[in-house]
């Protein structure tokens, strides 16, 4: 299985970056959770405060949550909606942008594709390398939230938390696929990464800004339309249709990336 050789080699080179991202994410989660007790004690009515924000802002950063007094609702607003969906999603799109373009850019591709490795296998191998990467980051945050909740003596709904991380993981894999396609298309790393992050970030804004307008259908272009951390963590509702879309989009993007790369000239 040459895909796995390629995946293992690629993953090994990304270990340090992943450790850093995981550490940053754990620190963010820790700080967020540490603030929660004082947040609950303050006199401010956050529900009311958030009511006063524009609809678009709430759509982007608050999601469907209406109850902020529980740790779950608080985490959705403070952690999952913004940090997870937007920042970690953009990070994975960005990181995936160098998967193929990085090798083309530094010309090492000339040492790999002159071996009995088809370009499709090469692209699939690069994609597979990012699956454990997503899992590492996903599990690191999960562990941080569980441990953090324990430290402040708060109950957290474990099965719902797992559901958020499972679906969130699929979302991140879809972000990787966006980066992979950009990476197969562009010959330069910077261009691929720029395009990938632009798509994830741009469609996130599109989804948020068009909520409750005549252009709401445009938000369907965004991956964030297909998962709702609030629904999952606070209400415990799993959107199977959304999951199916995330998986299908990922498959289509990977196939497209392989197809695009097969047809390209490599210098």
């Amino acid at each position: 299985m040459r895909e796995l050789d390629i995946a293992a080699f690629e993953f090994a080179q990304r270990r340090r970056g992943l450790a850093i991202v995981s550490a940053l994410l754990v620190a963010t989660a820790g700080l967020t959770i540490a603030v929660f007790p004082s947040f609950g004690e303050s006199d401010i009515d956050f529900a009311e405060l958030l009511e006063s924000y524009p609809e678009e802002f709430r759509a982007a950063f608050v999601g469907s949550v209406t109850d902020f007094s529980s740790l779950e609702g608080y985490l959705v607003v403070e952690l999952y909606q913004l940090v997870w969906l937007l920042i970690v999603g953009s990070y994975f799109a960005y990181a995936a942008g160098s998967l193929v373009a990085g090798e083309v850019d530094r010309q090492s591709v000339e040492l790999v594709l002159v071996r009995p490795v088809s370009r499709t296998r090469f692209v699939v191998g690069k994609f597979l390398a990012m699956l454990p990467a997503v899992a590492v980051v996903d599990l690191a945050l999960l562990a941080a939230v569980v441990v953090g909740a324990g430290l402040i003596d708060e109950e957290i709904h474990l099965s719902r938390l797992l559901a958020v991380h499972a679906v969130g993981g699929l979302y991140l894999v879809a972000c990787v696929a966006v980066g992979l396609l950009a990476s197969a298309f562009f010959g330069r790393v910077r261009r691929a990464q720029g395009a990938a992050i632009g798509v994830v970030f741009g469609t996130f804004l599109l989804d948020s800004l068009t909520v409750d307008t005549d252009y709401e259908f445009l938000g369907a272009l965004s991956l964030t339309r297909y998962l709702d951390p609030g629904e999952l963590l606070v209400a415990g509702d799993v959107d199977w249709g959304g999951i199916a879309v995330l998986v299908a989009v990922t498959c289509v993007l990977v196939v497209l990336a392989a197809e695009v790369f097969e047809r390209r000239d490599l210098s």
Partner: protein
């Protein structure tokens, strides 16, 4: 007659409007040490990338071990028996030489790794980032040969190697050839061609100028006669059928390349006072100058005498004229 190891037929590659190579046809037999010579930018790297399936031809075909490059599935099997050294080999900076070779071994095998490392040692446990140019080149040699390929395609493989390693590498190539391995390599170093090649193709401006047997080429190329005279020399006096090339050098001396008929030469010289006279074997440089100059004269209308100065440095005349596909992509995306 067996299938040629490398068969190129009418191969053409344009990057947009810019010519990479055009109408290239040549054939290399198994077990041949074949040189591919041309100045920088002549299209050597483009040809090699076409030959390995990294680029798609605009027209024409290339086959390796009987399988056309565009038959993707079948060509993958061929690649298992092909080795390659790129023009400027780039590895993974943070990865050690050993792990780099482990990775390539997983993709295509490494039966001969140890033997090659004995011959071309590199600091295996240091990251490639810390390698000198020469060490990178040696690592490239090891990865290209370690799976015991039948055909090896190399783009200027000796650049960066010190002279001793270079000699070792030439010796190694001759041994490989004797084992039946086909070696195809590009170079702009003439001496290298004379030292190791059986045959050579000469490329210029993306077109094939000649394919010659090295020995024939040298045998046919005659002698170089240099005459210094206080008198003004008239080129017309030396226009014999055997004259390959005649020109007046900038210092007023006559430089004649001739394949014989020294009687006529002596007769022609009778009319001149002679300060100095030299007759020597043609150096391979003279032979190639002949090919390059022909092109110059035809395309630019440069008189033979005028192009002599430029001819001293054949390698520099068309530096970096080869369009890179990356540039073509830039413009395509713009």
């Amino acid at each position: 007659m067996s299938v040629p190891a490398i068969d190129i037929d009418g191969l053409t590659k344009f990057y947009g409007d810019v010519r990479g190579v055009e109408e290239l046809s040549l054939s290399v037999s198994e077990g041949e040490l074949f040189g591919f010579l041309g100045p920088n930018g002549a299209g050597k790297s483009t040809t090699i990338r076409l030959l390995l399936g990294l680029l798609k031809p605009t027209d024409g075909t290339a086959s390796v071990l009987g399988v056309p490059v565009d038959d993707r599935a079948a060509f993958l099997d061929v690649l298992a028996r092909v080795g390659h050294i790129p023009g400027d080999p780039r590895f993974y900076d943070d990865v050690t030489g050993r792990k780099t070779l482990d990775y390539f071994a997983g993709l295509s095998g490494d039966a001969r790794r140890d033997e090659l490392l004995d011959r071309f040692p590199v600091p295996l446990d240091r990251p490639v980032r810390a390698y000198s140019r020469g060490n990178r080149q040696k690592l490239a040699i090891v990865q290209a040969f370690m799976h015991d390929p039948r055909v090896v395609v190399m783009d200027e493989p000796t650049s960066g190697l010190d002279p001793l390693v270079q000699q070792e590498f030439y010796e190694f190539l001759r041994e490989e050839r004797d084992r039946g391995v086909t070696v195809f390599f590009s170079t702009h170093i003439l001496g290298e061609v004379r030292e190791v090649c059986d045959r050579v193709a000469i490329i210029r401006d993306g077109r094939l100028v000649a394919v010659e047997d090295i020995d024939d080429l040298l045998a046919r190329s005659g002698k170089v006669v240099t005459v210094q005279s206080p008198d003004a020399i008239d080129l017309a006096d030396f226009d014999f059928p055997e004259t390959i090339d005649a020109r007046i050098e900038p210092d007023g001396s006559l430089r004649l390349v001739t394949s014989g008929n020294y009687d006529a030469l002596v007769d022609a010289l009778e009319g001149y006072r002679i300060d100095d006279l030299e007759v020597r074997e043609t150096a391979i440089e003279d032979v190639f100058m002949h090919f390059y100059d022909e092109g110059d004269g035809a395309e630019d209308g440069v008189a033979a005498g005028d192009s002599a100065a430029a001819a001293d440095e054949p390698d520099e005349t068309e530096d970096d004229a080869e369009p890179s596909p990356a540039d073509a992509e830039e413009s395509a995306n713009a």
